[in-house]
């Protein structure tokens, strides 16, 4: 049976795919560093509407080992491109109800621009490269979403 979760760590990088609820504070604690003066985070959550219709829930499916690998690579690229103390990303799988988090990203750096830019880049890059799929369940139907990237 394929594993339903994975955690990869390397140096200042942390990547996780999990069916469990995500907690922002936990991801922030993974990038804490006394040398950091700035922490930037991004959390993606399930919204209550989809193209004007009421969203009932989202369901995420992941190619777990490859998604974790791609998430770690993403963190490593961010650390190579910006001056970061730490970068951590966790993506949830399974049912994610309205208001719940599907993805949490936390970056820390000595100066603010690095953490802020890395965090923004990371969510854009995740949507373009990580093998995870989202199915929208709304009033009257369901559909596999496709990212625009």
């Amino acid at each position: 049976m394929a594993a339903d979760r994975a955690v990869l760590r390397e140096g200042r990088c942390y990547a996780e795919v999990t069916p469990d609820p995500l907690h922002l504070q936990r991801l922030v604690e993974l990038v804490v560093d006394d040398g950091a003066g700035a922490f930037a985070t991004f959390t993606g959550t399930t919204r209550n509407t989809f193209q004007g219709k009421k969203t009932e829930r989202l369901e995420y499916e992941a190619y777990v080992p490859m998604a974790a690998k791609k998430l770690l690579e993403l963190c490593q690229q961010a650390c190579a491109r910006w001056q970061l103390c730490g970068a951590a990303i966790a993506h949830r799988t399974g049912v994610v109800h309205v208001g719940e988090a599907s993805v949490v990203i936390a970056c820390s750096s000595p100066h603010r621009r690095d953490a802020l830019e890395a965090c923004h880049w990371a969510i854009d890059e995740l949507k373009a490269t990580v093998p995870i799929w989202k199915k929208e369940f709304f009033e009257g139907g369901e559909v596999w979403k496709e990212n625009e990237e």
């Binding site: 190619y63 993506h91 949507k127 990580v130 799929w133 596999w144 496709e146």
Partner: protein, 83 residues
């Protein structure tokens, strides 16, 4: 030789399975995959060109043909929508 094939999202729904084993001639490349998969799972044709393949957890470029060996892991990857 046998390779393991994983199906995700819409490809999983169309194939009616999350994984399968493909028996291929030794020396086959990734170019042989879709013809064999479409034979075994004709519904996959509904994907059209909206998918890519991965080999051992690395994306294959469309049209890229990599040699396969026994035990390789391939996945059918419809348009992603993480985040």
């Amino acid at each position: 030789m046998e390779v393991r094939v994983l199906f995700f999202a819409r490809s999983r729904e169309l194939a009616g399975a999350s994984e399968a084993t493909l028996s291929l001639q030794p020396g086959s490349t990734t170019a042989a995959l879709m013809p064999h998969l479409l034979e075994q799972f004709p519904q996959l044709s509904e994907l059209g060109t909206s998918f890519v393949l991965s080999l051992n957890q690395e994306y294959l470029a469309p049209g890229e043909a990599q040699p396969l060996k026994a035990g390789d892991e391939v996945a059918v990857i419809p348009p992603i929508s993480g985040g």
